[in-house]
Symmetry: C2
Subunit: 239 residues, 2 copies
DNA sequence: CCAATAGTGTCTATTAGACAGTATGCG
DNA sequence: CGCATACTGTCTAATAGACACTATTGG
């Protein structure tokens, strides 16, 4: 009989072959009417020179979870933290990375373009790619599939929540949220439906400010501090 | 400059400290009016003797993905494959396993009780625990949190799909599906609403058989082969 | 025929879609 | 004052909830 203490004293984690573990993030933003995903150029082998998702290995000395790893890697690239971050899926198998059996924990993130554009613009190994241009790229590893999973999550969740607010600056108008939603869904939505949802959600509050848009001034809104995302029980665009 | 081939030749995966990776599954079934989760008694350290989720290490020689690992471990315990299996979430951190920084990929699974009861009944280290009795158990590691995540997924998805069919035998009546749904949601639903959804989903077909229940015979239904799950655009019980 | 369960008809409630109508601000 | 854009009112459509009604089967 071995006690747990004795067992742990003699435990050697390297005795069994273990997969290569990485953490990758699909970070979306909206810019100039386009939904864009953040890509980084791989500086080292394998697949050196290819574009792929921002990510890398867990630093078990510093990261308290894979969320921390995702945040750390994104902060390195964008300069700031995403406004939204949730786990997406894991992808695994013997073939997806030439170094061997590998597993990546993927995260799904949103950020407003104005919040991170300055930093991205100054680095040459990171860029925003419009998702409609993805077809022309051969991404590293299976990152194309991970981006597709992220797109699917984004579009689904946009149908039953106000998730697109996390792609907008701190304050925004109804029209901006409508445009963000329409870009993500790829089709127009009813402004009235959106405004009804904003009221029902309890997620947003007026700042009291207005902005001129060339005609009647539009009220500015922001996320209520400490209020969680609201999930609706019906979808938009339920054909 | 190193080519990818040269790089891979010299690559040593064990150079960097890597997390301990496991795969665990939350397998639910319905039995005697109760929602139950499969637990196994840990035969070895750490946490020997505690009950926890069926799972274990990836066998990189045999498993083509963590789905394969989940299936392999479930098959060892239940004797057969679950009717539903989807990825749930990953849980990670330095404290969740006493052996060190660890990560588990959790899977969410459903099975009909009649399909696996015979095998479970013959093994002493596995059992079905009604979820309402979970409070009295100290599960191994953070498995209590993983079970809660599974329960949440099950209840959410039951609101916008016919997921409970995967807890039923191959053929079943409307009344059985209604009862399964009510046990999962913990409250009664309208039979008419359920039947409307069955028709609209296109997921089920009549077998042509009927069963006597003590009164009028009930028609039997089964999942149409090759037909995927249907997601509704509105929830049941949208208070 | 009666009891019990299966299955249907149909009215109401809720919320999205459509779109017309009103309000406001600037030239 | 006119126009563009912001915002509102209100009708329709789709689908869930409620519940009464009919159908079938065994005794």
């Amino acid at each position: 009989m071995t006690t747990e203490a004795e067992y742990l004293k003699n435990y050697d984690a390297s005795r069994f072959p273990s997969p290569l573990v990485t953490v990758d993030s699909v970070l979306f933003t909206l810019h100039q009417g386009e939904l864009c995903v953040l890509l980084v150029e791989r500086a080292s082998q394998p697949q050196q020179g290819r574009w792929g998702l921002p990510g890398g290995f867990i630093d078990i000395k510093r990261d308290a979870s894979t969320r921390d790893t995702a945040l750390r890697k994104l902060t390195e690239k964008t300069g700031i933290s995403p406004s939204w971050l949730e786990q997406l899926d894991t992808f695994s198998g013997p073939e997806r990375d030439p170094r061997g059996w590998s597993l990546t924990v993927s995260w799904f993130a949103l950020i407003s373009w104005v919040d991170c554009a300055p930093h991205i613009a100054t680095v040459s190994d990171a860029k925003w790619l419009p998702v409609r241009s993805l077809a022309g790229y051969e991404l590293a590893f299976d990152h194309a599939a991970i981006v597709q999973a992220g797109l699917h999550r984004l579009r689904q969740k946009t149908m039953y929540s106000l998730l697109p607010v996390y792609c907008l600056p701190e304050t925004f108008t109804h029209a901006q949220l409508q445009e963000a939603t329409e870009i993500i869904l790829g089709q127009p939505i009813q402004r009235k439906s959106l405004i009804r949802r904003i009221e029902a959600s309890g997620m947003l509050e007026e700042t009291g400010e207005s902005v001129a848009t060339g005609a009647r001034k539009a009220r500015l809104w922001r996320r209520k501090p400490g209020v969680d995302i609201h999930l609706f029980s019906r979808n938009l665009l339920a054909e």
